[in-house]
């Protein structure tokens, strides 16, 4: 476990001093891994992600229990820009790019801040060229105002800009949300490339388990503010509950049942044959 980069230990997050959003969350990511965090709406995935990136402070929430250890330091409740400078980059679900800035300026913002951040473990310092290598589309659009980009282009720009802060850990919230399947596949492939090339750890929060598990090394499943299941991506992909939960026919039809419902169903099936 020497190459453990991130470890979330028994974390509890409380909103407005009253509402407990997640409780006893345990999660780890090793250097160079792609880890995914699955769960249905409201399971607490995003809260966990925002706790790691320091953003919950802006939403009147606090980590009230447990530790978030990143590269050996507890960063629970640190301000977002501190987390960013420590080497954590977040690609949020909304608020992806500065719409009034050009593509180039968006990327440069990352670079500016990246000067103070830690260098990607083992990787060389990235520059614009490096980003254009992963996302050639952006080079073409370099002078374009980011507000006019398509959804896929925005996502690429957001990832590119985040990468330029030289992170060691890249957090991505809902990579696939609202994007065409072709684009999602393209992005997923790029993420694998990025990991391979830069050795960056990626934590992916996804509702689309298929895509996530296909590129991830390890996966966690959240339900009602707790981690209920974890394991190697391959094993999860083969796990019956996950099959039922995310990949089954119901899921394909757009109906995603909760993990608990799936468990109950499975139990009933065992009892009643």
């Amino acid at each position: 476990m020497s190459d453990l980069l991130l470890s979330v230990e028994q974390v509890e997050v409380v909103y407005h001093d009253v509402v407990t959003a997640v409780q006893g969350v345990n999660l780890t990511a090793r250097a160079g891994q792609i880890v995914c965090l699955l769960g249905s709406n409201g399971a607490g995935k995003t809260t966990t992600l925002r706790a790691i990136s320091g953003f919950i402070g802006l939403d009147h929430a606090r980590v009230t229990g447990g530790r978030i250890v990143f590269a050996g330091e507890d960063i629970a409740n640190a301000a977002p820009h501190i987390c960013a400078r420590a080497g954590i980059a977040l690609v949020a679900e909304r608020d992806k790019v500065f719409e009034q800035l050009s593509v180039r300026e968006n990327l440069e913002i990352g670079m500016v801040a990246g000067k103070t951040g830690s260098q990607a473990a083992g990787g060389d310092r990235l520059d614009l060229k490096g980003i254009y290598r992963f996302f050639p589309e952006l080079e073409r659009l370099t002078g374009r105002q980011a507000g006019f980009l398509s959804g896929g282009e925005r996502q690429m720009l957001a990832i590119g800009s985040a990468l330029l802060t030289s992170p060691r850990l890249l957090l991505i919230d809902e990579l696939s949300l609202g994007l065409a399947p072709v684009v999602v596949e393209r992005l997923a492939a790029a993420l694998t490339d990025i990991r391979d090339a830069l050795g960056i750890t990626i934590l992916l929060v996804e509702q689309n388990a298929n895509i996530a598990l296909s590129i991830a090394d390890y996966g966690f499943v959240m339900e009602n503010g707790r981690i209920v299941l974890d394991g190697d991506a391959g094993r999860l992909l083969a796990h019956g509950d996950i099959q039922e939960f995310y990949l089954g026919q119901g899921a394909a039809a757009g109906e995603r049942r909760s993990y608990r419902a799936v468990k109950q169903y499975a139990r009933k099936r065992r009892w009643y044959g």
């Binding site: 409380v14 001093d17 009253v18 606090r62 009230t64």
Partner: protein, 355 residues
């Protein structure tokens, strides 16, 4: 007004009751007795101060309804006061109208101005709205000044004390009771308004007008009614002011007056009628308190030429302090104090994780 706590309401009727407990009745009676007896002891200076406070309360309650409750920013408050006063002055000068004509006329004029300047609120929000109401101020002052110049009232328009059945309202103590009665009526009116459909609509619009619209509140009606009612009350306050002081002059309604009223609702605590009253008391007494403080500490001699500047600077400082450290204002402080005594010796324990 203190609210009861610690017991359950068992019917909707109880929600609508203004005074809930016997204790509150007693306190209110005590307060009323004190207020009624004050002129028997107070010097002229104190009576006049009380009169100023009573006048300020009307204006502050009006602004509280608009800004604190309905959430519509207005920087035209001094303009509306001026409008009410000017209508009174012009009617007395040109037509010799008695108070029972001028007061309603001023109120109606205020309502019409409110309608006119509430219209932008349907399209404008927040700061933009504030600035557009600022235009109201400049326009009223401009018109008032034109009138004063053209009619040759270069030093202001004189308004004679109101006559009621041949009896002239001039004595400070008499004014005290009249203004007190005015305040009681205005405060009761405001409190009742807030419990009505209109009041609830205002609060809803304040929270989020889009949602309010979706819930079936007519945003159009709510915003306009807030402007109209608040402006009518404000203009009425201006008219009463002109009778109390016996004159009208646009110079008496500078932009600083607007700021003072805004300060009253902030310092008092946005969203509460009690806050408006406390704020009016605080802001009106503030300069006198500073002068008294300077004098008792012996600093008056050293700072004589600077009293105005000191007052001004400290006023800004206090307003700033309230905004930064006590956003709930005096009403918030009052609630905390009350809860503390109410619950003593059982200290309130905050919810887990709270501070």
């Amino acid at each position: 007004m203190a609210r009861a706590s610690g017991y359950l309401k068992t019917g909707y009727g109880q929600q609508l009751v203004l005074v809930e407990t016997r204790m509150q009745w007693m306190l209110l009676a005590l307060l009323a007795a004190a207020l009624l007896a004050l002129p028997l002891f107070a010097s002229f200076f104190l009576l006049d101060l009380a009169g100023q406070i009573f006048l300020a309360v009307i204006g502050a309650v009006a602004l509280m309804l608009l800004t604190g409750i309905a959430g519509q920013v207005s920087l035209g408050h001094a303009g509306l006061l001026a409008a009410g006063a000017l209508v009174t002055g012009i009617l007395t000068q040109e037509a010799g109208a008695p108070f029972w004509i001028t007061l309603p006329a001023a109120t109606i004029a205020g309502a019409l101005l409110g309608l006119l300047f509430g219209l932008p609120s349907l399209r404008l929000k927040g700061l933009y709205l504030g600035i557009s109401t600022l235009a109201l101020h400049f326009i009223v002052v401009f018109l008032g000044q034109e009138y004063e110049t053209i009619r040759g009232f270069s030093t202001g328009i004189s308004v004679h004390p109101p006559r009621i059945f041949g009896w002239e309202l001039y004595d400070p103590a008499a004014w005290y009771y009249v203004l007190l009665a005015f305040d009681v009526v205005v405060v009761l009116f405001a409190l009742n308004l807030l419990r009505s459909r209109t009041g609830r609509a205002w609060r809803a619009v304040h929270e989020r007008d889009v949602v309010a619209e979706a819930l079936g509140v007519s945003v159009f009606r709510a915003k306009l009614s807030a402007f109209v009612i608040s402006s009518a009350l404000t203009a009425l306050a201006g008219a009463v002011f002109s009778y109390y002081r016996g004159f009208v002059s646009v110079e008496a309604f500078s932009l600083f007056v607007t700021i003072q009223y805004v300060a009253m609702v902030i310092i008092g605590g946005l969203g509460s009628i009690l806050g408006a009253i406390l704020g009016a008391i605080f802001v009106t007494m503030f300069p006198y308190a500073i002068e008294a403080a300077l004098e008792t500490t012996g600093l008056a001699a050293a700072l004589a030429g600077y009293v105005f500047a000191i007052n001004y600077a400290l006023f800004g400082l206090v307003m700033l302090a309230f905004l930064l450290f006590e956003p709930d204002g005096l009403a918030g402080i009052w609630r905390r104090l009350r809860d503390y005594f109410f619950l003593w010796p059982f200290r309130k324990t905050p919810l887990a994780g709270g501070e």
